[in-house]
């Protein structure tokens, strides 16, 4: 191994350790790691820029703009209150409906945005029913991570995989991942109901209070709502067709975002741009450059060779290794840097002789996204919800979350294990 490779590994490991320790903001750490790769001459500036995946960044920015404008219409609050009323104010039904809404929304919007929209309404509904909101919040976290796994645009790991492997388009993600996510979600929600059923009891008077809410009043701007929903619908159709149209997913998302801005006018521009999570965007840029150091010095190739030696190059064993490794790793470390490291490794495995890479990609997506449910620090949505709960005086502790979520995560990975085995190696 060359000195350059050793330097690259050193920078990578130190950066990773700082990201995990959360002593410094992860964006500062990732950018610093990336800059060190360039300063030490491990990659040139041109190589670093070449490794930044602008498709991932464009897709994230486009969707963030679309959601920022749509959120202003009040549509998400409308849907949540409507669901609570359809559930007739009964807490168990509300938990099921809010979990399903969160999962569906997370499949098309990013998970953090989804929980930021659904959690305040959940607090309100729980307060109206005089219930502890924690069962609802934990269900929403789990549903959000599960729902995000179902599509190319639902969760950053999928965005990164879809962006790196052009043949895996939106429809392929939907066809390969959504059926198993439906099963996992159904099993998980049933388990959550069984776990929390004793806490989800309220009086008929309090349930009746929910029925008095006027959800129509939540729609603050019906003209904007029509425009937003039309453009959102067109964007989703665009994602479904992007493979056939030979357009990258970022092109679709940015077209949707700027079409909506074109329709709404410039007074929405500044607010929408300010709501883009630039921290996350720069975190991605830092990671892409950080991993480029490992790619350019041959470290990734070496790791892929070792993994193939371990599994004997067998596609099934490699898929299942990736599934479980990704799940366990993503439960404890941020799944974005993990996936950023795994993508070049899987590509290298292809170059080293594994002919059918598709099961490996689906295993990575399932493991990395569902693994985020394992602990409170496994995914950004988990941390955000815990933060909001703590502001409200409800503490979701690391271990109290893990006690519920980790077994459910293992159960979901077991289901995914059976699915990968049956769908890609038996049928």
């Amino acid at each position: 191994m060359t000195n350059q490779a050793l330097f690259a590994i050193g920078i990578f490991l130190v950066t990773y350790a700082f990201i995990i320790s959360e002593k410094l903001h992860r964006t500062i750490v990732a950018m610093s790691g990336g800059i060190l790769m360039v300063l030490f001459g491990i990659v040139t500036q041109e190589q670093a820029i070449h490794h930044i995946d602008f498709n991932t960044l464009g897709l994230l920015i486009g969707m963030m703009i679309l959601v920022a404008i749509t959120a202003q219409t009040g549509v998400f609050k409308y849907v949540a209150i409507r669901a609570a009323k359809v559930a007739q104010g009964k807490p168990i039904r509300i938990l099921v409906y809010l979990s399903l809404i969160t999962a569906i929304a997370s499949a098309f919007l990013d998970n953090v945005t989804t929980v930021l929209l659904i959690v305040p309404v959940t607090f309100s509904i729980a307060r109206q029913l005089q219930l502890n909101p924690i069962p609802f919040l934990i269900s929403e976290i789990i549903a959000s991570n599960a729902g995000g796994t179902a599509t190319l645009i639902g969760d950053p790991p999928n965005i990164m995989i879809g962006s790196s492997v052009p043949e895996l388009d939106f429809m392929k993600f939907l066809v390969n991942l959504s059926p198993i996510i439906v099963v996992i979600l159904a099993v998980t929600v049933v388990c959550l109901v069984l776990i929390y059923r004793k806490q989800l009891v309220t009086s008929p008077e309090l349930s009746a209070k929910i029925m008095q809410l006027n959800e129509r009043d939540e729609i603050t701007d019906s003209r904007l709502l029509k425009k937003s929903l039309t453009v959102m619908g067109l964007t989703i159709i665009g994602f479904m067709l992007h493979g056939a149209l030979h357009l990258e997913s970022a092109t679709i998302a940015l077209t949707g975002a700027f079409l909506l801005l074109l329709l709404t006018g410039e007074h929405y521009l500044e607010d929408a741009i300010s709501k883009v999570e630039w921290n996350t965007i720069f975190f991605f840029i830092g990671l892409f450059v950080l991993v480029s150091g490992l790619v350019e010095t041959g470290v990734i190739k070496q790791l892929a060779t070792e993994a193939i030696n371990l599994t004997g190059g067998d596609s099934l064993k490699t898929s299942l290794l990736i599934l479980w490794l990704s799940a366990i790793a993503s439960a404890f470390v941020d799944n974005i840097p993990f996936v950023a490291t795994m993508i070049p490794m899987i590509k290298e495995m292809g170059a080293l002789g594994i002919t059918n890479l598709e099961p490996l990609w689906w295993s990575l997506a399932l493991g990395a996204c569902l693994g985020g449910n394992g602990t409170l620090i496994g995914a950004s949505a988990n941390v955000i919800v815990a933060g909001l709960a703590s502001k409200e005086g409800y503490h979701i502790g690391f271990f109290s979350f893990m006690k519920i979520a980790f077994p459910l995560m293992i159960l979901s990975i077991l289901i995914a294990h059976v699915y990968v085995y049956l769908r890609y190696f038996i049928w």
Partner: protein
């Protein structure tokens, strides 16, 4: 403790303060006051604190506002700013 007054011909406010939060049941008696209450709502829904002040509209046209304990003063100050209240003072 914060004390506030309002014009009873335009608005009726019932306050219930618990250990965790305060709930205000607001009945508006004119469309201009409804617009002002909605201004307050827009202000709090537009900030980056997602659970500070939660507004609900009821089928009978009244509002229920749930305010986190540490935000009560801020809520009342903004209700005053948007002319939903006549006066506010420390007692």
């Amino acid at each position: 403790m914060f004390h506030y007054t309002y014009n009873q011909e335009e608005i009726e406010i019932n306050e219930h303060i618990s250990q965790q939060d305060a709930t205000y049941h607001i009945v508006v008696k004119s469309e201009s006051m409804r617009a002002r209450v909605k201004e307050v709502r827009r202000y709090f829904e537009g900030n980056k604190d997602y659970t500070d002040v939660l507004f609900f509209s009821r089928e009978d046209g009244s509002f229920e506002v749930i305010v986190r304990h540490n935000m009560i003063e801020s809520f009342l100050i903004h209700a005053f700013r948007f002319k939903c209240l006549k006066s506010i003072c420390w007692e």
